[in-house]
Amino acid sequence: MITVLIGRALIVIGLFFMAAGIYSVLRFHDFYSRVVITAKVDTVGFLTLIFGAMLIEGFSFFTLKLALIVVFELLTNPISTHSIAHSAYASGFKIRKEVRVD
């Protein structure tokens, strides 16, 4: 019973991190700051939510498959972020200093 409660709390924390990721992608004006912030906050939200789901489910094939998804995500998420950033950089995207517009 207590593990279910902790798992649900973890899921809510994960949702909070994801909301921060969406907020940052809408808020910042510079492309590079968006890439850097979003990749991290979103990964943390993803991991936290999956850990919450694992804790709720206990030890079963469900949890093992979730562990497979975690390993897979840790390998592929940085590669896709990197390829987007590299594609923008190779096409001559410069850092805009308009973050401080005031």
Binding site: V35, V36, I37, K40, L68, H82
Partner: protein, 163 residues
């Protein structure tokens, strides 16, 4: 002989993954998984890789587990720091070059992955042993000063304890 041992280890890993996907623990499932793993490795050796499978991916199982745990801890530190930056909005983005001492291609790729996931940095480009990195809190553009701040201890972890 060592070649065969490495193949056997990788086949065991593939069998475990196959059992998880099939959701039934039996000898037949494990055998099918191991055979599919063997076929995949042979096909990769013949058509995709230029070199040998074992030399291209030299990565021990124990090192891998230790690396994943260290990575998860670093990801959480990074996430909390990034959250702080999102809420306060103090950004100072810059691009720096750093040098690495790792030799193997696969190890350099792993280092670039770790840099992308750890606090405030994303790898942009690579030229030999020099990595180009976006840094969110750019205090210095000197490669020798920025290197240790960005890489932390991942080089030792990836190469398996040896500095």
């Amino acid at each position: 002989m060592k070649h065969l041992l490495h193949y056997a280890k990788m086949m065991a890993v593939f069998a475990v993954v196959w059992i998880i996907l099939e959701e039934q623990v039996s000898l037949a499932t494990a055998a099918v998984g191991a055979l599919i793993g063997l076929a995949t490795m042979i096909a990769t050796d013949m058509y995709v890789l230029r070199g040998d499978y074992r030399e291209t991916y030299p990565f021990g199982f124990r090192v891998g587990v230790k690396y994943v745990f260290a990575l998860i801890v670093q990801i959480y530190i990074a996430g909390v720091q990034a959250l702080y930056r999102v809420l306060t909005g103090g950004l100072h983005v810059g691009i720096v070059d750093i040098h690495t001492t790792l030799e193997n291609e696969f190890h350099i790729a792993l280092l670039a992955n770790s840099i992308t996931l750890t606090p405030g940095t994303v790898t942009l480009d690579r030229d030999g042993k020099t990595l180009k990195v976006i840094w969110i809190d750019c205090v210095t553009t000197d490669p020798d000063e920025a290197g240790p701040l960005i890489k932390q201890n991942f080089e030792q972890l990836i190469s398996g304890g040896k500095p």
